[in-house]
C-alpha cells in the first residue's frame, strides 16, 4: 500500500544511527589498527600484539575476568535461587537492582574509604590483633570491588531463568526419589543454564575491559585490556596500537558470545546490562 513511503521516512534517523554509530566505528577501529604513530600503513601493531608484553597482558586480563565471573556466579546463583523462594520476590529483586543504578564511580569511591589503611575493615582486623593490612591496591580488592559491581547483572538473568522454571518438575524429581543434590544438578541447573550463560556474558566481557576500577582500586597494578586501550588512546596517544587491542577485544567478545550461545530475548529487558 502507500504506507511504504512513510515507513522509509521515519526509519531514516534510525538507519543513519546504525550506519554512523554501529558500522562506522567498527570499521574505523579496524582501519586505524593498520597505522603506526606517524600515520604509515603497517602490520607492526599486530606483530606487537603477539609480543610477550601484550600476550601476558591478555592472559592476565582473561585470568582476572575469569576469577571475577567465577566468584560472581558462585555468589549469585544461591542468591537468585533463594530470592525466588521469598514471598515478595519482585520487591527483593528490585532491592538487588537498585545498587546497580547508583553511579559506578561512587560505589568504587566508597571502597577507597572502606579498604583504606584506617578504614573499617582494618579497624575490624585490629580488634582481632591482626593489625593493619594493605588492602587497597591489591588483587583482592580489585576482584572484590569488581564482583560487587557486577553481581546484580549475574543475579538478574539467573533469577529470571529460575523464576520461569516449572516447580512441578522439582516435585516430580523429588517424588521419583532424587536427592536434593541430584535434583539440583540434573534438573534445576540444566534448565537454568541459559540464565547462567547470559550472566556470564554480562560479566565476563565488561570485566575484560574494566579500566576505571583498575586505576582507582588496583592502583595501576592490574592492567586489563580496557586499561591498555585507554592508555594507548588517552595517554600515549597511540591510536593505532589502541585500535589493535580493541580489534582483539572485539574478536574475544564475539567468541565469548558464540560460546555462551543464544541469549533469550527477555534476558536484558529487566535491567541494565552494561
Amino acid at each position: 500500500m502507500q504506507t511504504k513511503n512513510t515507513k522509509t521516512l521515519y526509519l531514516i534517523p534510525y538507519f543513519t544511527w546504525i550506519v554512523l554509530f554501529v558500522i562506522a566505528p567498527i570499521g574505523l577501529i579496524t582501519y586505524y589498527s593498520f597505522f603506526d604513530l606517524s600515520g604509515n600503513f603497517t602490520f607492526d601493531n599486530y606483530r606487537n600484539f603477539f609480543s610477550s608484553v601484550y600476550l601476558t597482558l591478555t592472559l592476565s586480563s582473561f585470568w582476572y575476568a575469569f576469577l571475577i565471573t567465577l566468584f560472581s556466579l558462585i555468589i549469585a546463583y544461591p542468591t537468585a535461587y533463594w530470592l525466588t523462594k521469598t514471598k515478595h520476590k519482585q520487591l527483593w529483586l528490585l532491592l538487588i537492582i537498585i545498587p546497580s543504578w547508583i553511579n559506578l564511580l561512587l560505589k568504587t569511591y566508597a571502597f577507597i574509604g572502606i579498604f583504606g589503611l584506617y578504614g573499617p575493615i582494618n579497624a575490624f582486623l585490629n580488634v582481632f590483633g591482626i593489625g593493619e593490612q594493605q588492602i587497597l591496591f591489591t588483587d583482592f580488592s580489585f576482584i572484590f570491588v569488581s564482583v560487587y559491581i557486577f553481581i546484580p547483572f549475574m543475579i538478574l538473568p539467573i533469577f529470571n531463568a529460575l523464576d520461569k522454571l516449572n516447580p512441578s518438575l522439582i516435585d516430580a524429581s523429588r517424588d521419583l526419589g532424587a536427592s536434593s543434590w541430584t535434583t539440583f544438578s540434573k534438573v534445576i541447573f540444566p534448565l537454568t543454564v541459559n540464565g547462567v550463560k547470559a550472566g556470564i556474558q554480562a560479566v565476563f566481557i565488561p570485566s575484560l575491559s574494566l579500566f576505571m576500577i583498575t586505576r582507582l582500586i588496583a592502583g595501576n597494578k592490574v592492567i586489563t585490556l580496557g586499561t591498555a586501550i585507554e592508555q594507548q588512546f588517552l595517554v600515549t596517544q597511540n591510536w593505532g596500537m589502541g585500535s589493535t587491542i580493541a580489534v582483539f577485544l572485539i574478536i574475544f567478545m564475539v567468541i565469548i558470545m558464540i560460546i555462551t550461545g543464544q541469549r533469550e530475548k527477555g534476558a536484558t529487558s529487566n535491567g541494565k546490562n552494561k
Binding site: 554509530f21 542468591t79 530470592l83 543504578w101 547508583i102 553511579n103 566508597a110 560487587y148 582507582l216
Partner: protein
C-alpha cells in the same frame, strides 16, 4: 527444611548487607565534620553546603542532567520510530540482521564504544565537548530504547491497526491514537533506561569529552584520583536520593504498564 530456610535467610541478609553497606557508608560520612571517611567526629551539613556553593560543581551537575534528559528524549524518539520500522519489516532475514546490529552497542565494552566514537568525532570534525558527549549518549541509548519498545509492539494485535484503517483513520491517526498509546509503557521504560544509562556512564564520556566539558562521573573520577574529599560523599547522598526517586517512579510506571485496564484510553 527449617534449617535450609534459616540458612537462606542468613545468606540473603548477608548479600543485602554487603550490597548496601558501601552506599550507606558513603552517605554516613558525608555528615562527618572530620576530613576523611573514618573517625566520625560530629554531625555537619558543611559538605552539602560545599556542594551547593561550588559553582563549578553545580555547572557540571546541570550539564549532566541536561545531557541525560536531552539524550534520553532524542534516543527515545529515534528508537521508537526505529522499532516501529523494524516490526513492520516483511523480510525476516533483514529484520534479524538489523536487530543484531541494534544489539552491537549493548554488548560492546564501554572502552571500545568510547575509543571508536573518539576516532569518529575526530574524523568528521565534531569538537569534543557538549556536542560529542550528547551525541554519544544518544547513540548508546538508542538500542536499549528499541529493546524496551519492541516487545510491546510485538504484543500488539495487528488487527487493531487494520480496524483503525477500516474506520477511516489516517496513518498519522493510527500512529498517534493506536500505536503510541499501546506501546506507551515500553516508551516510558525506554526513556528511563536511557536516562539512567546516560547518568551512569563514565567510560564513553571519559573518552569523548574535551577539556572544557565534564559530567559528574568524569568529575568524580578526577576528584577520587586525587584522594578522599567529603564533597563527593555529599554528592553521593544527593545522587542516592535522586536515584531512589527515579527507581521508584520507574517501578510504578512499569507496574502501571502491567495492568491492562486503563491502558490505551489514558491520554
Amino acid at each position: 527444611m527449617e534449617k535450609t530456610s534459616k540458612l537462606s535467610k542468613f545468606y540473603l541478609a548477608l548479600v543485602f548487607i554487603v550490597l548496601y553497606t558501601p552506599i550507606f557508608y558513603l552517605i554516613f560520612y558525608s555528615f562527618n565534620s572530620g576530613g576523611g571517611m573514618n573517625n566520625f567526629e560530629s554531625f555537619t551539613w558543611e559538605h552539602y553546603r560545599a556542594v551547593f556553593s561550588d559553582t563549578r560543581l553545580l555547572m557540571i551537575l546541570i550539564n549532566t542532567v541536561i545531557v541525560a534528559l536531552l539524550s534520553a528524549l532524542l534516543s527515545t524518539i529515534i528508537g521508537v520510530f526505529g522499532s516501529i520500522g523494524i516490526v513492520f519489516m516483511r523480510n525476516k532475514s533483514i529484520r534479524n540482521s538489523i536487530l543484531s546490529l541494534n544489539n552491537v552497542l549493548i554488548v560492546s565494552p564501554d572502552v571500545i564504544i568510547g575509543a571508536s566514537f573518539l576516532i569518529l568525532f575526530t574524523m568528521i570534525g565534531v569538537k569534543l565537548g557538549f556536542a560529542s558527549v550528547l551525541i554519544s549518549h544518544i547513540a548508546f541509548s538508542i538500542p536499549i530504547v528499541v529493546l524496551m519498545v519492541l516487545p510491546k509492539l510485538q504484543e500488539m494485535n495487528s488487527s487493531l491497526i487494520d480496524a483503525a484503517a477500516d474506520l477511516g483513520a489516517t496513518r498519522r491517526d493510527i500512529l498517534t491514537r493506536v500505536i503510541i498509546p499501546f506501546i506507551k509503557p515500553g516508551i516510558f521504560a525506554g526513556f528511563f533506561m536511557a536516562l539512567t544509562y546516560s547518568l551512569d556512564d563514565f567510560a564513553v564520556t571519559f573518552f569523548v569529552t574535551g577539556n572544557g566539558f565534564s559530567t559528574l562521573s568524569v568529575e568524580i573520577y578526577s576528584m577520587a584520583r586525587a584522594g578522599i574529599t567529603l564533597t563527593i560523599n555529599a554528592l553521593s547522598g544527593i545522587i542516592f536520593i535522586v536515584t531512589l526517586i527515579l527507581v521508584v517512579g520507574y517501578y510504578f510506571i512499569s507496574q502501571r504498564g502491567k495492568n491492562p485496564v486503563g491502558m490505551g484510553v489514558r491520554k
